[in-house]
Symmetry: C2
Amino acid sequence: MASEAIEKLIVALNRLPGIGAKSARRLTLEMLTWDTDEVRELADLMVDVKTRVRRCSICFNLTEIEPCSVCSDTRRDRSSVMVIDFIGDLLAFERTGLYRGLYHVLDGRISPLDGIGPEDLNISQLLHRLRQGEIREVILANGPTVEGDATAQYLSQCLTPFEVSVTQIARGLPVGSDLALADQVTLSRALEGRREY
Amino acid sequence: MASEAIEKLIVALNRLPGIGAKSARRLTLEMLTWDTDEVRELADLMVDVKTRVRRCSICFNLTEIEPCSVCSDTRRDRSSVMVIDFIGDLLAFERTGLYRGLYHVLDGRISPLDGIGPEDLNISQLLHRLRQGEIREVILANGPTVEGDATAQYLSQCLTPFEVSVTQIARGLPVGSDLALADQVTLSRALEGRREY
């Protein structure tokens, strides 16, 4: 490569998830066609996000204010807490606009193979919230994987001492999917979870 | 979205080629897991590339020095110039390590539908190089598309006054491809371009 600066940028972009060597080259060549001010703006936004965005001390949502806009929104239902594995899951639920309760981000799933145990997740902070007594329902929205299931099972045990209703979001066929192509486990969960029509 | 900084970064990343809304969200969440120093390093590399990288005044290659490392390399064959449409094509040829001559980047292809005429390409600069008298062969390596063909044809007309051999890189079946799946035009070009075995 003709330029060390180009080479370095390609290597750095290549570290991002989903950005292979070819994409990194393409992005670098694209940025070279932008105005310097445009590239500087993007670079500043990247640093901005790191310096301005924090985790909410209550629910571990991403936020610029403390507590986050969900936790401080008085119109939301403070008796319901949805437990999710990752920030991205919270954002996905917020995009639906359907859930009006609070969240709790665990920041992971129990996974012995990866050396991730319950003590690595934000579980003690969840139990601390429950001890305040305001919460009436805990909705388990862990990912539909072996690790998500293990996490949900562990949580349900932790929650037994509390007078809260513990529910789990439905497993079933994704809307718009092809029943013939669904895997056996999804089909069996869809059957188990059948409801009065 | 909980944070304006996050929202702005997603919108900015979304402007990059091949980065959709989902990828932009994913990249933003990934950067939030990096150390601030790592994000700052990537941001600095982006600005660096814009401030340090220029176009070579002779061949329009990307370079930090003037003229570029190809044009100033005395071991390269200065009697041969390969004409290519875009910088990315030059980098692709350099990666093969097989071509030892010089380049000339046109920065586009003739495309009347997009309002791109010969005057928008670096053609006069190529003719200026030819008038120096050192060049003996011009290799047309324009892209194998209608626009690339139109550009090659236009160039070949411009080159008739010069005592240079004008060649074009071969059109044919890409190595490893399936003959049964090749399109008719590629097959007919492969047949036309057949060589003694």
